[in-house]
Structures are given as C-alpha cells and as structure tokens.
Amino acid sequence: MKAKLKLVRDQFPILKQRVNGRKLVYLDNAATTQTPRAVLDAVREYKEFFNANPRRGAHYLGGQATILLERARRKVQHFLNAPSPEEIIFTRNATEALNLIAYSFGLSKIEAKDEIVLCISEHHSNLVPWQRIARLKGAALRYLYLNDDYTLNWEEVKNKITARTALVGIAHMSNVLGTIYPIKELVGFAHKQGAAVVVDGVQSVPHQPVDVQDLNADFFVFSGHKVFGPMGIGVLYGKRRFLEAMPPFLMGGEMVEYVQEQEAAFSELPYKFEAGTPNLEGAVGLEAALNFVEEVGWDFVQKQERQLLAYALETLQKIPYLSVYGPKCLKQQGPVLSFTIKDCHPHDVATIADAEGIALRSGHHCAQPLMNYLGVPATSRASFSFYNTKEEIRRLAASLSKVRKWLGYGS
C-alpha cells in the first residue's frame, strides 16, 4: 500500500511543490483534482502530432483528430458502462451539461402543472438552471430535506416525489456533506412516479466505479477536471430515447446535416448536441485520466480514500470546538469533510491553514440553499484523493488545533 502510494504520488508533479515554506498539502480535491503525467503527456502529444478539427477537412490530421475524439468518447462510454457511444456528449463541464438538460429536456417537457424535485444539498449547477426552467414554465420547485445525519430521508422522498413530479435532480455525492445518496433506489422510486432523474455525478466519478445502466439514471453528468483530467471538458450521458426526442441546445457548425436560408436539419446523436469545434485536447486528456484511474485501480483508490476519511474523522473530531457536517459513516460518506470551528469564520480557518501550505476550501461551496438549511453562513472543507497521505492529515489537524489561538480565543 505504502510503496504504491509513493508510486502514485510521483505521477503528480505539482504535489512536490512547496507553498509558504512548507510542502504543499492539497486538500481541495472536490474543487479540482491535480493532473498526473499521463494526462499532461497525452495532451502534449495530441498538440504536437495530431492537432486539427475533428469531423471536418479531408486531410490526414483531420482524420487522426476524428479518430481521437471517437476513441475518447468510447473510453467514457466504457468507464460509465453506457450502452452506446452515441449517448455520450462532450460539453465544457458539468454545469454546461446540466444546462443542456435543463434547456433542452426541461424547456420542451416540463409544464405548468409539473413539479421539479431537487435535493437540498444540490450544487448551484444543478439548482439554478432548474429555478430558471420552473420560472419560465410556471412549474413548482420542491426540495428533499435530509435526515439529522445528513442522509436521504425516505419520508421526504415519498411525500415529494409524486405523480406530479416531472423531474428529480440529485447529486450522486454531495460536494459539501460527502453524503453518497442511494441513487439506484431513488431512481426506482422516481420512475414509478413517472419522473425522469438527472444525476450529478461530479463528486462520485473520481471516487467509485459508476455503472449508469445499473443506476438506471436517465441523465448522468460529470466534469473532467475533477477526475484528474483537464479543465474545459465535461460529459453528459443520457438515455438514447431521451436524447433523440430532445431538441438541440446550442446551434451552429458541426451539429447540422444541411442548412438552407430558413431552416436546417440537425445531425444524429451525439453530434446534435456538440455544436462548434470541440475541446479535443480536453477529450484526449480526459481519456488519459480515466485510463490512469483504472490503472491505479479502484481497489487501491477506495481503500486509500476510506482510510484517509476514517483517519480524518477520528483526528479532527478530537479537536475542541470543531464540528463536522456529514454522515460520519464510511458507508454513506465519500472523502469530503466539511467542518466549522466555534467562533472562527471558515475564511480565517483557510487563511491560517494556507500559511502552512495546506489548501482547504471555505465558503458556501456553491450550495447556498444547503448552507441556509444547515444554518451556517459557510463551512471549511477538506477533500481527499487517493494521493493524499495520513501525514498530510496530521498536518491539517495540527494546523486546525491552532486556529482558535490565532484568532484570539485562548484555546
């Protein structure tokens, strides 16, 4: 385990850096993950040898670029166990994928009598677009509140997901609480009520194998940069029968068959939803990133991340005045740990950790309705990846133990 950890860490050049005189401790993996050599090399190789517009131009490089784009698409398909590559749409990020679903599926399918049901812990990306659709269509927006331990409350599910529900939006794993929601069971329930389900997989994809057919989600999205890939590439998986019935989202080149003065015929899937020149270096980088994760192996990833979370929960909760917001149970929580320290604003906590080279996140984490629900203006968050170490958590704990003193509260 230890030897492998060292091998894996060595793949990430950025982790060798020193920040404020100390070795960098990067604990903001839920915001973005760092990039392994394999991804840096793949992007560079693409730029050096194959750079061209895919699906356009009859020259050699154009052909190579097309092959690379479709190879990346098939990698994503297999990674998610999607039935076919046509059901994988490349976007800029998860946010764009969610907007695509909202504006294409939402606008055309949701009506005034309908209800949209979201989990209260949703990221703004899976919330603000639905507010907009609800407003435009006169539909109602309802929220699933949680159990006291921040897990899914089935009473809420039964009360709120009804025959009136057209759509349910929920993250597979919360970026604040770390809660892993029982998506498969929830999808089963929602489908019985006739609702479509949109799953925001941004936080689950880096930490566990995902099988979209097993989950039976109608839509599933994630971002490349949170799973060791480049920024600017995201993925939308949608069931074929949904995608085929949906109108295009962005219009322009690449997504049309032929165009006349007054009208155009749109391409088949997946191109119907991929207007304009795609981010091919992003797709190539994402493919390399997914290959990298598989090479590291889910066994290692999950063992290491569970150990880190268990150790962090144990150490941090020993710190006086520190409270954790999350299920605190390894079965229902991914490696994300939100906390507050009494009397200390999370922003000051992050500054104090940063002074020792420790990267934490603090703020509302783009989940303001959740913050209101929790009754806090903000939290601090440490989020782990398999390349983190126990030693780093010890440094975090040591730094957090000093926060109250720095801010003038005796202990």
């Binding site: 922003h347 000051d348 500054t351 002074a355 703020g363 913050m371 203006p377 903000a378 720095w406 003038g408």
Partner: protein
C-alpha cells in the same frame, strides 16, 4: 505574509468584541455590503446631521478581517464630515491597491493602516475593503435624502 502580521492584537480586539456592532436606532442611512467569496455580510448605519457623522455602527457577520476592518473604520469616521469620510475611504482603497504608499499620506487612516499588506493575500482583499466600499456607497445616499 506572516499570520501574526494579519491577526494582530488590534485586529482581534476589534473582530471579537465590538462596541461598534449594534443597531443604530436613529440612523439616517443604512447600507448593506455583501462579499460573496466568503459570505461576509454587514450593514453599516450612519446618523448624519448637518453633514456630520454623529454616530455610526454596524450589524452582520463575517470573517475576522471584515469585522475588524468595519469596526476600525467606524471608530475613524465618527465625528467627521461626510466629505472627510469619503476622503478616508479613498485613501484606504488607494492604500490597498498600492497606489498610495507614502506614510504621510496614509497617516489619516490611523489604526486602519494595519491592513496595508493585505494585498499579499489576494483572497482576503475583499474582506478588508468591504466596509469601506459600503461606506462610499452609503454617504452619497445619505446626503441625497
């Protein structure tokens, strides 16, 4: 930046127990300032009579830097004319942007000089300037009433 330069006695004193954090019942103007990056949310209240800031106070919550900066500012502007308060805000913002560096020019800021090096911590600049920006917006409104 060394933490002890940031979280000085003065800053901690102001951030923790402030006499300046209260409701001003007879306020003639009140202005809310919000810093979305860390959620600092303050409302500054002023009692202005014959162009004099007779009293000032604030409510709200936020990080130590934003709370201290607000409290220090309030101590500084009480008893001043609104033009003087505006001038102080300009000097403070100039100091943060490093446009004003001369000690002599900064002198009117008194205790607020403690934030001079905050630009070494870009993430915290907004916290330090929130009160001053809010003041700049509040004073003209007060005078237009």
């Amino acid at each position: 930046m060394d933490l002890s330069e940031l979280y000085t006695e003065l800053v901690l004193e102001h951030s923790r127990n402030c006499a300046n954090k209260r409701l001003l019942e007879c306020a003639t103007c009140s202005k809310r300032g919000y810093n979305p990056s860390c959620g600092d949310d303050i409302t500054i209240e002023l009692l202005i009579e014959k162009d004099q800031i007779i009293d000032a106070a604030f409510t709200g919550f936020g990080c130590a830097i934003s709370q201290a900066s607000t409290s220090i500012m309030i101590d500084l502007i009480k008893g001043r004319s609104s033009a003087e308060a505006q001038k102080l805000a300009d000097i403070f913002l100039g100091m943060i942007k490093r446009e004003i560096k001369e000690e002599e020019e900064l002198e009117p800021l008194g205790d607020a000089i403690v934030f001079q090096n905050i630009s070494n911590l870009p993430a915290r600049v907004k916290c330090a300037v929130l009160a001053w920006r809010t003041l700049k917006a509040a004073v003209p409104e007060a005078n237009s009433h």
